[in-house]
């Protein structure tokens, strides 16, 4: 395990200290709770947005705290949900009386901790709290035979859409409605070439032979839908996009946002080569790409691979997506 860290048990706290130091104009830490909040928050009259999850997915979620997106991000241990206590503190902090929306990635631990915090905040603190659960990963069978589809990089679009609606003065109901519209139009799928190693365990999360890749791999190394010999970028894009469009058919004339997300160790060059391939496939279908995002938005430590996310847009979503935002990892003018 070759890592630029100190004590593996302190990675989250030290990371957040570095984060707060780098972005002190945007954010600050809430005590020693591993919760990042807007420097200028709570914003009076605005619906508060709280997200978070296991660490190791940086810049998610702290990088999306700021004007036009989240009010707080709760950081759990590496790949482990944050605790109810952290989430509750975040909810209480961001609430300015207009209520709080939780944006939860669909993993058992995350859902349990966020929902419990929601219930406690409602019952004990009288805060009006609601939630949306992001499950954009089409590589999981969504039936009752599983914990349901996972939340992956598409989550950032939900931060953006809900954040813009909240910033524009939407009520809790409005903000949730916009997020849910986006969720219905959101699909993602990832793939991996090589694993990552959680600092505390020192062992790779999975193994892949030197000539194989896994299509549908999750952001913690959860199994995908198939292992294949290494394919070219164009074929990989085709494999991911065909699963996405099988689940959410796109028609000629549809407008979408396309995100090509790196998992941590993939060269920026390769992300653009993937983005080219995915863009070309969409264009071939007559689909217009109104916005392209290429980079590391939701990583898995040093996993190598990428995910594609498609958000189908209507006029409402478009104006929310294009609204300005000013956060450490997502600045739009």
């Amino acid at each position: 395990m070759k890592k630029l860290i100190n004590d593996p048990n302190n990675v989250v706290q030290e990371m957040l200290e570095g984060f707060a130091a780098a972005h002190s104009g945007h954010v600050r830490l809430l005590g020693d709770l591993n919760v990042v909040v807007r420097r200028d928050g709570p914003v009076n009259g605005k619906v508060g947005l709280v997200s978070g999850g296991g660490s190791g997915h940086e810049p998610a979620h702290a990088g999306y705290v700021g004007a036009g997106m989240l009010d707080a991000a709760c950081a759990g241990d590496v790949f482990a949900s944050p605790s109810v206590g952290q989430i509750l503190a975040a909810i209480k902090h961001v609430d300015s009386g207009s209520g709080v929306l939780l944006i939860i990635k669909n993993y058992t631990g995350d859902v349990l901790n966020f929902e419990l915090a929601m219930d406690l905040a409602r019952e004990n603190e009288g805060v009006s709290v609601d939630k949306v659960i992001v499950s954009d990963d089409v590589s999981v069978d969504p039936s009752a035979r599983t914990a349901g589809r996972r939340g992956i990089a598409g989550t950032i679009f939900i931060h953006k859409i809900a954040g813009a609606r909240a910033e524009a003065g939407g009520t809790l109901h409005d903000v949730k409605a916009s997020a849910e519209t986006a969720l219905k139009n959101l699909r993602s799928m990832g793939m991996a070439l090589s694993p990552c190693t959680v600092p505390a365990t020192g062992k790779p999360t999975f193994t892949l032979p030197e000539d194989e890749m896994e299509i549908g791999m999750g952001i913690h190394g959860e199994p995908g839908i198939k292992r294949t010999k290494i394919m070219g970028a164009d074929q990989v894009a085709e494999a991911l996009l065909s699963n996405i469009t099988a689940d959410m058919p796109l028609r000629e004339g549809d407008e979408v946002a396309l995100m090509t997300n790196g998992l941590g160790a993939t060269p920026v060059m390769e992300l653009y080569i993937m983005h080219r391939a995915a863009s070309a496939l969409l264009k071939d279908m007559g689909v217009a790409i109104c916005a392209g995002y290429v980079g590391e938005y939701m990583t898995s430590l040093e996993m190598s691979g990428c995910s594609l996310t498609v958000l189908r847009l209507d006029d409402g979503l478009k104006s929310l997506l294009f609204a300005p935002s000013r956060t450490p990892a997502f600045v739009q003018i």
Partner: protein, 212 residues
Amino acid sequence: MKDITPATLLGLVEALADTFEKEESYVNELDSKVGDGECGTNLRKAFRTASDRLNAKPPGDAGGLIEQLGMHLITSAGGTIGLLFGVGIHAAGREVAGTSQLQAADVVRMGDAAVEAIKIRGKAEVGDKTFLDALVPAVTAFSDSVNNGASAEEAFGNAVKAARKGAEATTGMVARRGRASYLGGRSLGHIDPGARALVLALEGVEKHLTGT
């Protein structure tokens, strides 16, 4: 069986924290087969933190202490297993709130309350390959034994045996809840780490409360 006093319980919680410290890597190893390999770490941290917090301000009655332990696990654990153990313990404690001298009949109600709360939160059923597959048989065995006139000690012994059997049986199940469910059929042949951890916990309780 020892009297279940707050002091006994505080000792028990510390003993459980020690257990999960000792068994951390074993349980992680099981979790790495079907999950993300940190179930043992989650439990070690959860019980250690809960034990520290309880000791800092221990409630005066057994029921209250158990409820409080549950709430500490719920609020501080993160992850899945610590929180769900907490949900069960919290419901069990609430069931006997104010009671300082627990009877076997109290423990039966506690078990039922725990199972119900865990099912509501986690939306899992018996057969989904979770620690419920060890807990539910244990609770049933305890209440059956008590109903058949066994001593609390005997009944608890039977509960532990049933939990062991139930945990073993998860090896033959396909996971339908939690991270393991993404594996589909590939989860077959591996024991559920949470179920095994529950057995370790019950063995810890047995050892602490009966001295065996």
